[in-house]
Amino acid sequence: MLGRIGSGACTQVVAVVNTQQNRNMATLKHISMRLKSVKNIQKITQSMKMVSAAKYTRAERDLKAARPYGEGAVQFYERAEVQAPENDTKQLYVAITSDRGLCGAVHTGVSKVIRFRLQEPGAENIKVICVGDKSRAILQRLYSKHIISVVNEIGRLPPTFLDASKIASGILTSGYDFGSGKIIYNKFKSVVSYAQSDLPLFSQKSVEDAPKLATYDSLDSDVIQSYMEFSLASMVFYALKESACSEQSSRMTAMDNASKNAGEMIDKLTLTFNRTRQAVITRELIEIISGAAALN
């Protein structure tokens, strides 16, 4: 108890000394140290921007190829009017994020959609699969009992179909018998904008109960099962591509802003540094002159 009070008083004293020091000329060294560190940070953010710009162009090119793929994969579910069963409340949400941060609100946006859903009533039967460490880091503190598995090592390299099929088989072998679900991902719109979007997930039963499935010819459950497994992999692949592209574009903007802010800080610090330097020189001159005057 006493110790705690003692240490509190101490920190206060230190703080007072610090503010006094800031007004003193001894801070010249401190300013130059800070200036140097901000300059280094600016260099880092600038090069990160360059790297993500290069990665972004590639991701966008890949995305162009993946778009018809993703649209084709969901087309059947739309045309056959597959609907989630109303009496089955077991739902699965797949959050598509990545392991890497420093890219604006890309990951928080996806996690937020899921968090809002989990806050609503009837969320006990919802399970979440986190793709990428970032969504896990955001969700695990409050909703750890909803998370059934986590996929990491996403975002270092551009996503491939192999990654997607591994995730898809992870979803299928998770042992969670969901009635319906959603893949939540960031849909890329332009360099400066993206929005959270979702792709539907269905169980085999809900596909077999679809009203318009009768129009489809020569179907057996084997074909439907293989078809659904493959289309799940295709949808995950498409979502990964969209998310990778949004992430890189968002990181580019974030790093651009960071470099700009660092530039502003550098300007301000240089000004203070020069002023302080002049002040130190003036003070030293005054000291010398007044010393000499006192001798006379």
């Binding site: 018809p68 793929y69 087309q75 059947f76 489809y216």
Partner: protein
Amino acid sequence: MALALRNLLRSSARRLQVRSYAAEAPKEGEMALTFAAGNKVFYDKQVVKQIDVPSFSGAFGILPKHVPTLAVLRPGVVTVLENDGKQNKIFVSSGTVTVNDDSSVQVLAEEAHPLENLDRAAAQEALSKAQSEFNSAGNEKAKAEAAIAVEVAEEILKAASA
């Protein structure tokens, strides 16, 4: 009875579709093909004459107004007959075919390459490697994976030497 019901469903679906389509969409009786793979997009809602696909329930050709169906692709050559009569042969490893009630067709493959990009020698090599893997496979899963690799390599070889 079932047939009558199906016909009814189909005709009602067609009526719906006539009402909902915009001007630039494919016209009635035309087939819009989307053919995409993980590596490349070959056709994006392009109108074509005919598509031949290999599937696990047997190879079949798709003409406009084909009955809606789903199928799982097996390794083999997909032949697309374009509107100007040009034939385009593309090798696919696996994937799905969807024929919808609006005559649109989606062929989604895991990997697809034009036939002229296949190399016979490399396929031969891949085949012998897959076969040795199949023979040395320890458990069921590895064996099944190797069997798939053998099947794909055999088909590539067949397609490349044709």
